[in-house]
Amino acid sequence: MAAIRVGLAPFDVAAELAALTGDRTDIGGIGTFIGIVRGTAHGRSLASMTLEHYPGMTERALVAIALAAERRWPLQACLIIHRVGRLLPGEPIVLVAAASAHRQAALDATAFLIDWLKTKAPFWKKETFLDGTEAWVDARETDEEALARWGATPTPA
């Protein structure tokens, strides 16, 4: 079961994981990753981070990423939740989770989900600094490198 969600609302990790596993007793481990807004960028203090996305394509991309993980590993469930809009430092941005009978599959799939999401889902971050200036975040080459670990074609350049 792959579940994805995009929205403004915060998420409760415990409730999300409980919903993901339900009454199943065939899950041996759940890996998760939570991305959080940091309070500084390039040594400057952040007031907020604003997430823009491409409605429609975002959901398609997240479903495709979740299904790709389910094809690569024997997962009982996998989850991607990504927030959009204005977020403050310390607030969670994204939650990915992968549940499997075996821990290595759960851990590997978790890393895969976040690596793919960072390069294949249409989100853009804008930083607003305490001094009022704004800047769009640059894509990092290390994200494309992380993709290569999964034998993935980089996003068209």
Binding site: G35, L51, E52, H53, Y54, G56, M57, R60, H82, I93, V94, I114, L117, K118, T119, K120, A121, P122, F123, W124, K125, K126, W136, V137, D138, A139, R140, T155, P156, A157
Partner: protein, 87 residues
């Protein structure tokens, strides 16, 4: 054709969505970028390649990532945006 712009492309062009009537000789994403670039200085600046010739702007056709060679028609939804930075 419906065209969408996101992030700093949207800001530089000054709009997030426009509907255009496609000239007959625009058949690929590369053609579309050239033609859109002639519509305003904002379009030209937003869609220009980097000084080293590298393509900065990414494109999706009907919500799938696309290449310069991807073919486009009047009925497609085409989006232009910077490299993604989510997660």
């Amino acid at each position: 054709m419906k065209i969408l712009y996101f992030a700093w492309l949207r800001e530089r062009i000054g709009c997030g969505e426009e509907t255009v009537a496609l000239p007959a000789d625009v058949t690929t994403v590369a053609d579309l970028v050239s033609w859109l670039g002639s519509r305003s200085p904002g379009h030209a600046s937003a869609l220009a390649p980097a000084s080293d010739g590298r393509r900065i702007v990414r494109c999706a056709v009907n919500q799938d990532f696309a290449d310069p060679e991807t073919r486009v028609t009047e009925r497609d939804e085409v989006a232009f945006f910077p490299p993604v930075t989510g997660g």
